[in-house]
Amino acid sequence: MTRLQAAFSKGRPALVAFITAGDGDTAANLDALVAGGADVIELGMPFTDPMADGPAIQAANLRSLAKGTRTADIFREAAAFRARHPQTPLVLMGYANPMVVRGAEWFAAECAKAGVDGVICVDIPPEEDAELGPALRAAGVSLIRLATPTTDSARLPAVLEGSSGFLYYVSVAGVTGKQQAALDSIEQAVARLKAAATIPVAVGFGVRTPEQAAAIAAHADGVVVGSALVDLVATHGDAAPAHIATLTSALSRAVHNARVPA
């Protein structure tokens, strides 16, 4: 069983938590997510042009790049995380250009070497995935694809083909960190996706509070929280880890117990 499979096989929904690499004290922020009970960690790779992100994660990208974060630094953080936390799955999330600039094989090999379990690439749809997906699979790294409210039943098989780890359902047509979708639309979408997918379905975009996370976890295999955590880094800088641990604890309690009868 892979680390990602194990994270979704605990008999309860999983909390997937996101922070941006190079924003604040990355190692301490990652440790705080694990201490708070996150089941899967998403580490954002900063990019100059984060077209799919809302203000919070855009700002985190720019803070990180302004500090001089390089791709090599991100792999160094990932490898160090893997040494400290042998069991917690780590997923890199970002945009295509920094991933393919040295060749998809190079990127996949670096991921494998650093103990990265999966990759989410925002702007490579299945139609353009002749290089990155095959390279990642050959290196034993999961390619985690996104499904959205606009992904209809005709497209869904193409999205699932070659996906592994989990399916990331973007619950709103929009950018990260903005409004949350209506719960009943999420419930319907998750039911549709789970009927077609053999991998777990995690839901993200616009999830900020333990209450929202719990409501989604009643239906989905996982809940992704990003902007609310990134906001803590914006507010508290290097003092963010304690705040991250507190919020993550509340989120993970809510998610893990979402299906336990009160």
Partner: protein, 414 residues
């Protein structure tokens, strides 16, 4: 005897392939939310292209609203001035395609007419656009006013400041202009923000992209709408001189005016072509010449040459011309460079400024800073060609919007 070869097999004009690729370039590198939408757009564009009524409405608006065909003009005093500095028997004739005489003052309107007709066909009720110099924003605001659709234009805050007259024009035309403060607050940041709007409003919003770039089918449809420039110019040149030009010259930011001029000539083997990028302060300093100083990468929905660092982070372009100040280039140009059909060069801010003044003084035409780059390249090339050679350059915009920038550069306060 050789087997007959179908003309299409030997054509440079049958790109992109069915997946939107121009050789190794182009494609549809967009977030999943947008993917079904760009597929819909492509299907609707195929239907529109095959619909004579669509074509007829497009042609009618170009004739009676835009003012096409634009003139083909022989520039006698510019030709003589350049010839005076040339060796005996050299100094090519310089001709201009006068797209600066279009309604709204640039070639941008050709594309906006085509795209708003597509938007209406698709039942979209809200239009968004990005703009750099403001020419595409003005053209988009214009067609939105003409068809009664609400319009939001994203414009980098830096450009809002340096292109104030165009901002006011857009507002007069009823558009909402949203200043974008992210990054360097120029064209690429405006495009990021327009994409964010589109992704959140896919159900009712049509994104009118201003250049021959972005996800497929935009590079193809923008090229097709702008190809009216080259089709007219080819027919006009044949009618006036009985032959084809020897060299075409056009400025390139994203590359829509250049591809519009070049494309109808691509299969004419005697016609050479020169695309002119913005070398800004110089290719060893800040510039916006993606082909000369960039490498292939993925941005804004397509694979193309980009200004980027070794980690794939996008670098800021610089040009005196806000319309050329983009770190990428349309994917068809990347392909035409790689196969060698078109030559590409670059021109600095100072050279463009000198060419701007040269055209004012010799022909009584105030060009925009974008085509001033093409004119600067013409000034270098014309003296190296024989007197009977014909150079045809695209005068893709007029300079009214740039007089404040030029005055500032020349140390004049208005």
């Amino acid at each position: 005897m050789n087997a007959p070869v179908s003309p299409a097999a030997n054509s440079y004009r049958n790109q992109p392939d069915e997946r939107g690729h121009f050789g190794a370039f182009g494609g549809r590198y967009v977030a999943e939310t947008l993917m079904p939408l760009v597929l819909d757009l492509e299907a609707e564009y195929r239907r529109a292209k095959a619909d004579p009524a669509f074509r007829a409405e497009f042609d009618d608006l170009l004739e009676h609203y835009v003012g096409r065909p634009s003139p083909l003009y022989y520039a006698p005093r510019l030709t003589e001035t350049l010839r005076a500095g040339a060796p005996a028997g050299q100094g090519a004739q310089v001709w201009f395609k006068r797209d600066e005489l279009n309604h709204t003052g640039a070639h941008k309107i050709n594309n906006c007419i085509g795209q708003i007709l597509l938007a209406i066909r698709m039942g979209k009720t809200r239009i968004i656009a990005e703009t750099g110099a403001g020419q595409h924003g003005v053209a988009t605001a214009t067609v939105c006013a003409r068809f009664g659709l609400p319009c939001v234009v994203y414009m980098g805050a830096t450009d809002v400041a340096r292109q104030a007259p165009n901002v006011f024009r857009m507002k007069l035309l009823g558009a909402e202009v949203v200043p974008v403060t992210a990054g360097a607050a120029t064209l690429k940041d405006a495009m990021n923000e327009a994409l964010r709007d589109w992704v959140a409003n896919v159900h009712d919003t049509f994104y009118i992209i201003g250049t021959a770039a972005g996800p497929h089918p935009y590079p193809e449809l923008v090229r097709d709408f702008q190809s009216v420039i080259g089709r007219e110019a080819r027919a006009q040149m044949l009618a006036r001189t009985g032959r084809l030009p020897d060299l075409l010259v056009a400025a390139i930011g994203g590359g829509s005016n250049a591809i519009g001029l070049f494309h109808p000539f691509l299969d004419d083997p005697t016609v050479k072509m020169l695309g002119v990028e913005a070398a800004g302060y110089g290719l060893d300093k800040l510039h916006a010449a993606s082909l000369a100083g960039g490498r292939p990468g993925i941005l804004h929905g397509n694979k193309t040459y980009l200004l980027q660092d070794e980690d794939g982070q996008i670098l800021e372009g610089h040009s005196i011309s806000a319309g050329l100040d983009y770190p990428g280039i349309g994917p068809e140009h990347s392909w035409l460079k790689e196969i060698g059909r078109v030559d590409y060069t670059s021109v600095t801010d100072d050279e463009a400024l000198a060419a701007f003044q040269l055209l004012c003084g010799t022909e009584g035409i105030i060009p925009a800073l974008e085509p001033s780059h093409a004119i600067a390249a013409v000034s270098k090339v014309a003296p190296t060609l024989p007197e009977d050679a014909i150079i045809l350059a695209n005068l893709c915009g007029r300079g009214d919007k740039d007089i404040f920038t030029v005055a500032d550069k020349l140390g004049v306060s208005l």
